[in-house]
Symmetry: C2
Subunit: 259 residues, 2 copies
């Protein structure tokens, strides 16, 4: 059987999961797109795979994927459902999975990232991607941070979504305090910081707090930090992009840990 209409129930379901965070949260599902994302999905979390007719015809490198139970979709329908401009012809419905805060905080030599209210899906995905590269051990996000299962975020993670431990928390400040009790030194990236980020020692357990793109950290959140740090800026710039600021801090920690 081939799905030939966008009004097919399964197609409508995918469209909802792509467009509506609320629907994703309710069903604890999301949509992974592209051969790489689908192939990297842990098998036990794969609910259903959809492929376009031409995808099947082109006999792509399946990277070990089993398509015997995949649902086939007409090319034109697939293109209309897809969230990308040039769809590869494969997507999957995948079960969400969060790590527990306890596990994230129980690790040794932690390098944590605390994100408060990051709103740009691309920024969040880029931060997660960079975090994997920098050796971050966990990503802790305030509840009002953009949905990590937003299709734009997923694309920007380049697969880190499946490898980087992350959790959304209801009480951001309380979580910072919990981390501090476990011996994590939590630094708030803040324009009020008097000490430059590269003057601190990040070889012990540390965390970095990064705030919203436009407004930075709330006063309440910044007050929870062990200390403020600042990334110096030449010229007349008032701030750096949130993903860039996070990258500079994470990679400084990585640099120090590998000296």
């Amino acid at each position: 059987m081939v799905i030939t209409s966008t009004s097919n129930q399964q197609m409508k379901h995918i469209k909802e999961l792509l467009n509506k965070g609320k629907e994703r949260r309710k069903e604890k599902l999301f949509v992974a797109e592209g051969i790489r994302m689908v192939a990297e999905t842990p098998r036990e979390r794969l609910e259903k795979i959809y492929v376009s007719e031409s995808f099947l015809r082109n006999q792509p490198d399946l990277r070990g994927l089993d398509l015997s139970e995949a649902v086939i979709v007409q090319d034109q329908v697939f293109r209309q459902i897809s969230d990308t401009q040039t769809p590869q012809g494969i997507m999957a419905i995948v079960r969400q999975s969060e790590q527990s805060l306890e596990n994230i905080l129980a690790q040794e030599d932690t390098l944590l990232l605390f994100l408060e209210n990051i709103q740009d899906p691309g920024n969040l995905g880029t931060i997660m991607r960079t975090a994997e590269g920098a050796g971050v051990t966990g990503l802790i996000m305030s509840r009002d941070t953009v949905d990590i299962y937003n299709p734009k975020t997923i694309r920007a993670t380049m697969g880190s979504l499946y490898r980087m431990p992350f959790v959304y928390v209801d009480d951001f400040c309380d979580t910072v305090h919990q981390a501090k009790k476990k011996g994590v030194c939590v630094y708030a990236a803040h324009l009020k910081g008097t000490e430059y980020y590269d003057r601190k020692d990040y070889r012990q357990s540390v965390g970095f707090m990064i705030g919203n793109e436009g407004n930075g950290l709330t006063k309440e959140a910044a007050d929870c930090a062990t200390d403020y740090i600042r990334i110096p800026m030449s010229g007349q710039l008032e701030s750096l992009n949130a993903a860039v600021a996070a990258a500079i801090l994470m990679y400084e920690a990585r640099r120090q840990r590998h000296l």
Copy 2:
């Protein structure tokens, strides 16, 4: 007089300048949007300012802008012309201005960025913004790099567009060679690099070459470099976002120069 239709010649002109790089290049003009970008535009480059009716009514902080010759546009028309989702109600047609390669290369203690075929407008803008913060002295772009006057790029620069010297060059490799002749040590960020970026000394004149988001540097370009460097990555990541990679390198240079 108030412009009341999107088919007004001036409105059509703005739309063309927003949407078409070719048109921008032909006329050597571009559109700056938002009070901050317009206010930061050097006066001698301002061709014409457009404001919405409600912008005028709200008596905003004009940051020294003179609106006496501004053209007034109906709110609804302004919204349709604007490239942003929630327009502030002010935009301007601005004359393009490039620095000369000679001037950029003539500086002392240069910190240069060589961008080859960066395609994402947001990435390019973010790179320029970060470059200002890191104290980069000039941005050199291959001709096939995305247009710096793309509205998305302009927004992402956060005003750095007016402060960071930049130039597009026809012969990318020849330009790298010219810089090397002036004593600039040019490093190619490359997965083939065996030495980590933080093991090099960037306190002399240096340049970093960053390649296309998907493919990295072309072999031809990478071969022009003085040396390869690599940003180490933990986990299973294959690459970093181009703007993130550029930020890590630029800020490592800044860190070393301010020790």
